[in-house]
Amino acid sequence: MQDHVEDNGANMISLPSYLFLSFIMFIAGLVVMVARKNIIAILLGVELILNSAALNFAAYTRFINQNLEGNIMSLFIIVIAAAEAAVGLAIVIRFFQLKESVHIDDATQLQA
């Protein structure tokens, strides 16, 4: 972050380390999406996956082409995640009003 830090030798921070972290987040998100039966928990998993994607964008753009396109992409991913969370949670709350449940397997009908 600062110019004078370059002297100190930041040795471990490279693209693979970022890819590893984003991989962990992605796999965790996948597990949450598949294993959990609570709709909100599944939304948490979606957030994790979106974050791993955004992190990948930012990392690639920093390490490979040093421009800001990836940052912009990450920004849009964050925006979309916010919109997704709002609508998704609204649907969950509506679903709960109708079914008294947030279990994913209760969501079997397209119509109330």
Binding site: S14, F23, R36, A41, R62, E69, I78, A86, I91, I104
Partner: protein
Amino acid sequence: MFQDILFICSAILVIAGTLGVVFSKNLMRACTLLLGTLFGVAGLYAVLGADFLAASQLVIYAGGVIILMLFAVMLTGGSADKANKFGIEKIMGMGSVKTYVIAGLTVLVFSLTIMKLLASFLKGYQKLDELPAFTSTVDKIGTMLVTDHVLAFEISSILLLGALVGAAVIARPRRG
């Protein structure tokens, strides 16, 4: 050195938070731990020099999404017969051995494929300190948003408006 410390802290936060989200039996805690993950990601952005991105991550996730999630958990947590008064302990359907086994198998398959994909990427890249430092990204991002990416910018604003109205319409209480 600062960057190393910040990176290690953030990475620990991310990994711990992520594992917490996966294995926590309590949804409220899972949400809180997700907050930790998101802060960690913000820290990772900061290490990358993407200061605006980090701040956006904080504002949007910490300020908006997580509180929204907590609200949702609280509003849907109480199912009379299966949980206590506020649904903290026994929020239903947090997964069983069976589901975790299925998920584990899926993950195994998927991680193998990803590893195959990434194998060639994972060697021979520059370290962060060998790269030119990023100066401020704010004004550049601002310029790019209203020049090159203005269409995406406007569309995302429409998307947000749609999400706002849609969420309000979907969640509003109805008679009957």
